[in-house]
Amino acid sequence: MNLQTEIAGVVYKNPVMTASGTFGSGMEYSEFVDLNKLGAVVTKGVANVPWPGNPTPRVAEVYGGMLNAIGLQNPGIDVFMERDIPFLKQYDTGIIVNVCGKSVEDYVEVVERLGEEPAVSMLEINVSCPNVKEGAIAFGQKADALYNITNTLKKHAKQPIMMKLSPNVTDITEMARAAEAGGADALSLINTITGMKIDIHRRKFVLANKTGGMSGPAIKPIAVRMVYQTAQAVKLPIVGMGGIATAEDAIEFILAGASAVSVGAMNFINPYCTEEILKGIEDYMRMYRVENLKDLVGAVHE
């Protein structure tokens, strides 16, 4: 049985990855999960300088999921290169680094620094975080802005670039096509869906940021639909995510057209879930006598 998957020329040993922002740089979850078993660790977003993030409360529970407004707190690229990358290099897993910035120049700086590190196999470009005032989603909600940043970063990047798309748009295929036209090597989707929660007893917003990104099992049907639509619209490989909690969920994304999947909020609920999902995918392939994972990608039919 071959679980390998190829994304923009990079081979990952299996399709199970971690969604950016939910897994740090793997350190915290390495107490629970054997990182060697994962297809890749996708790191928390990193900027050119340290970011303090948003005030608290930053997280809230909602029915079947959660809201977060962390605001991309990160230690900056210098610390990341000195501490996080060497940590991940101890493991036999793919390293995909999520890159964020307030301006195009910020992104370029981080992309160029990461170009010095051959262990980083791919860059995921965060143009979809809904919780910061500058940058991120500002580049991901208008097709021309997304085209421009993709085009610029492609010129500076040594590794393939994967644009992480926001679901907070009218037509995600328009964004996918803009990223493809700009030279993206891959797409990942979906980032969180902007939401809000109000504490009716205090008559206040639960999150200090008022709004936050919704994730968790409740958003999965939206994410599967968007992955399917995107897979129909562009030729780029897709890493699918949004509410994956079980192997069955992951297989839905793969059948909809994802070459790999990322597990996010579920890590908070079951820290062992990535390994369990991988095992469940193997069981499914065994049950249906699927020899190559690749044969499942986009295999849904009418």
Partner: protein
């Protein structure tokens, strides 16, 4: 080592209105320290996130943990209905806990406010064991002075109540003044206004105050950066003025955090 395991409820009772006292048979008790917490997972899949709950007591054989918690929402409401024998998913032990070192302090204040009282019990037990004189100062809303008798095993307990129905009318600082108490170290857990008053008091008295903070959490293990406290200096892990309450705390030296 942190683990997520399935434990079993040994017993549960309501010890004050909406305050529940549960003993759990779990391997997490093996290494649990006072001031650490566990994450408890609801079974209802609409309420997915773990509930961080402080460790109140560790059984002598280190095979069971006691938690005392307030029913505050859907998750804790679910837990409160558990009967003896029910399975319960827990992760831990989490966080740093209170420092307990022999000879470090001669006379300590253990200050708890409301649902900040429970973590003081295991701490009182451990401090007494290393020869520290324990003085508990506990703040309650009214005469429902839960855990007061448990704490009395380890030293005098001074009570403050908001409505004056038990001990000193007012808050824990009023009780300290009224009883003319002194100490050379403070350990505290409770609402922010209480912790702020303690921070100021400790600065005036020039004594260390270890305070346990709480914040809404998601992962509980330091990955999501949901629960952070503002720090005076740049934090060694985050490289900004934020420390993770779940991992770098929940116990901080009062002088090191902006509250």
């Amino acid at each position: 080592m942190k683990q997520k395991v399935v434990g079993q409820v040994i017993s549960q009772k309501e010890i004050a209105p909406m305050i529940f006292d549960m003993w759990i048979d779990t391997t997490l008790a093996g290494e649990a320290q006072p001031g650490q917490f566990i994450c408890v997972y609801p079974k209802d899949k609409s309420t997915l996130l773990p509930r961080p709950i402080s460790i109140c007591e560790v059984r002598e054989d280190r095979k069971a943990l006691r938690i005392v918690y307030r029913v505050a929402g859907a998750g804790t409401k679910e837990f409160s209905a558990y009967q003896a024998g029910e399975s319960i998913a827990v992760m831990g032990p989490l966080g740093n806990g209170f420092p307990v070192k022999a000879g470090e302090a001669k006379k300590a204040f253990l200050i708890g406010g409301g649902i900040g009282v429970p973590p003081m019990l295991e701490l009182a037990k451990q401090l007494e064991r290393v020869g520290c004189q324990v003085q508990s100062v506990m703040g309650y809303r009214n005469q429902d002075t839960f855990l007061k008798q448990d704490l009395e095993q380890y030293g005098p307990v001074y009570v403050a109540s908001e409505d004056g129905s038990a001990g000193t009318r007012g808050n824990v600082m009023d009780a300290i003044r009224e009883n003319a108490l002194e100490a050379d170290v403070i350990f505290a857990c409770g609402p922010l206004p209480m912790l702020r008053a303690i921070k100021t008091y400790a600065e005036e008295k020039k004594i260390p105050a270890y305070i346990s903070l709480e914040e809404r959490m998601a992962c509980g293990v330091g990955a999501c950066l949901g629960c952070v406290a503002k720090t005076k200096n740049v934090d060694v892990h985050s490289h900004v003025h934020n420390a993770r309450i779940c991992t770098d705390g929940p116990v901080f030296l009062a002088e090191e955090v902006e509250i």
